[in-house]
């Protein structure tokens, strides 16, 4: 049984511990999760979509679990999401419900309050119910999206598989007490929560960061045993002379969310070894639910530049530009991952929520990597499909896909500060220029549309970008 349906088994164990020490047991959490969803008014045989504006608080977690348990699709966004963006997302996805902090309820004048708990309120909109894929569980934001409300479609199987794999390689136990350092709406933050609830551990909840005294006071008072950090977290920790802090309960640090320099990995790996802690570097993406690889803590000193090995249940390999397998040590290729945590695909509007599995368990990460003799992987760069335009990353593949979704064959190229869209149909050139500007928010001077006779492709049907004029 999936862990969110089976939390009662942990009974009186503490599931959530707040800053002030107030706790909630697994029995209480299960009950609270169900209490809130009985107020949903989803017609029999249908499923609703709920937007959850999450803080690291019991209400957000019990709401999240209630949605999973009632098979209500849940879209997670930060509680501080800009109002304009919220409106844009609500327009695109037409959710039936919102579970959000009371102070934001006023932004939805047309919605009806169904129930409230603590500082959260459940609202019903008037959006009609429409079919969604039966396995679709949740929607999360991807970073680097270009102007569109793009979300990643994750299934129930994805959540269960990734949480179980993470719990296995980190050897998570019910006695563990992670403290939240990342927002719950961020894929890494959410994976910390799910992988620990799976094992009956206690989540210590705070919205504070490592630069705040209250964070460290909570960590000590609630005897947290682990926390997660992105590269910038570790840069701050270094600056805060983390090594000198007295934190006797802490025994695991994990790092993901970008590449931490090998020097900092070494520094934290040494520090952790000396203090009897584990330091675990990990690699992943929202397209893979969360995690794809990890560097076992015992290898951190020897291979500090590595993203490690595939997570349990996952498989990795390298491919060249034509999709051929790259074999042997120290040769580079695109990193490809296969596993049950590879998500269903992207969505950009409500209709997309009925789509099936676009990727069939295989994710082309867009990261260029190499592998050493021990089959440990190393990132060496991104596939050259990003350009920087006035400091903003523009994903060429994404822009290309958006144009293709309009029924127009095209290829996107260009260089920094100059996006170039190649099209075959000259009559659409003007429309495309306007569409791309709206999509990316780029100034018109930075975008050029060129008409070509044919989009060049290789024998496998992939676009040959090198052959563009």
């Amino acid at each position: 049984m999936d862990f969110w349906c089976d939390m009662e088994r942990w009974g009186e164990a503490t599931a959530l511990a707040a800053e002030d020490g107030e706790g909630m047991t697994y029995a209480e959490l299960s009950q609270a999760a169900d209490e809130h969803v009985v107020h949903l008014a989803t017609p029999a045989g249908q499923r609703g979509l709920a937007f959850l504006l999450a803080k690291n608080c019991p209400e957000a977690i019990l709401g999240y679990l209630g949605f999973l348990r009632s098979r209500t699709v849940v879209a997670l966004q930060p509680a501080g999401l800009h109002g304009e963006w919220l409106t844009k997302l609500l327009d695109a996805y037409q959710p039936q419900y919102l579970w959000l902090p009371k102070e934001r309820a006023g932004e939805l004048p047309g919605a009806t309050e169904l129930v409230s708990r603590g500082n959260y309120v459940l609202l019903a909109t008037r959006a009609p119910f429409s079919p969604m894929h039966p396995e679709l569980a949740q929607l999360l934001s991807t970073s680097g999206s270009t102007g569109s409300p793009k979300l990643v479609r994750q299934s129930y199987g994805n959540i269960a598989a990734n949480a179980a794999s993470i719990a296995e390689y980190l050897d998570i136990r019910s006695a563990d007490r992670p403290i939240t350092t990342l927002p719950m709406s961020y894929v890494y933050g959410l994976s910390v929560i799910t992988s620990h609830l799976l094992r009956g551990a206690t989540i210590v909840l705070t919205n504070r960061g490592v630069t705040e005294k209250g964070f460290w006071e909570t960590l000590k008072a609630r005897e947290a045993t682990s926390f997660a950090g992105v590269p910038y977290t570790f840069e701050m920790l270094k600056r805060l002379r983390f090594g000198r802090m007295e934190l006797p309960s802490l025994n695991v640090l994990t790092q993901a969310g970008g590449k931490l320099s090998a020097e900092l990995v070494l520094e934290f790996a040494r520090l952790c070894r000396d203090q009897g802690r584990k330091f675990v570097v990990m690699y992943g993406a929202v397209e893979a639910t969360a995690r794809m690889s990890y560097l076992p803590h015992s290898d951190a000193l020897e291979k500090p530049a590595s993203i490690g090995i595939p997570i349990p249940g996952g498989d990795m390999w390298l491919e060249d530009e034509d999709g051929h397998l790259v074999e042997g040590a120290d040769r580079v290729g695109e990193l490809v991952y296969r596993g049950d945590n590879v998500t269903m695909g992207y969505a950009s509007c409500r209709e997309d929520l009925s789509l099936g599995d676009d990727w069939n368990g295989v994710l082309h990460t867009g990261d260029i990597a190499r592998r050493d003799d021990d089959r440990y992987y190393y990132l060496v760069g991104r596939k050259r499909r990003f350009i920087k335009v006035f400091g903003n990353s523009v994903n060429l593949d994404e822009v290309e896909q958006h144009i293709r979704n309009q029924g127009i064959d095209c290829a996107c190229g260009g260089r920094d500060d100059r996006l170039c869209v190649y099209v075959v149909d000259a009559s659409r050139a003007g429309t495309i220029a306007a569409f791309v500007q709206e999509l990316t928010g780029l100034h018109r001077s930075a975008c050029e549309v060129r008409v070509i006779s044919e989009v060049p492709r290789n024998e496998y049907g992939k676009i040959n970008y090198a052959a563009l004029p």
């Binding site: 960061g209 490592v210 630069t211 705040e212 005294k213 910038y232 600056r239 805060l240 802090m245």
Partner: protein, 79 residues
């Protein structure tokens, strides 16, 4: 320049604020720019400006505009 002027300049430059926004009410996270990134940038700027080395406890205790002035007194920065 007085210490107060130096202190105010660091706040205005690191957080992109005007003089009118420097008040008792200016606390961590009360303006968007004073997040963890802005905080660490401001601590580094204060260390440079006053030629001091802030202790960890003081960096994490630096929770408001007035609190910062109190903390800097420990480093013999008088206002």
């Amino acid at each position: 320049m007085t210490n107060k002027e130096k202190y105010d300049n660091v706040f205005m430059e690191c957080l992109g604020l005007g003089a009118a926004q420097l008040s008792e009410a200016l606390v961590y996270n009360s303006v968007k720019a004073w997040d963890s990134v802005g905080h660490m940038a401001m601590m580094a700027a204060l260390e440079r400006e006053f030629d001091i080395m802030l202790e960890t406890d003081d960096i994490i205790d630096f929770s408001s505009y007035p609190k910062g002035m109190q903390l800097l007194a420990k480093y013999e920065v008088q206002f």
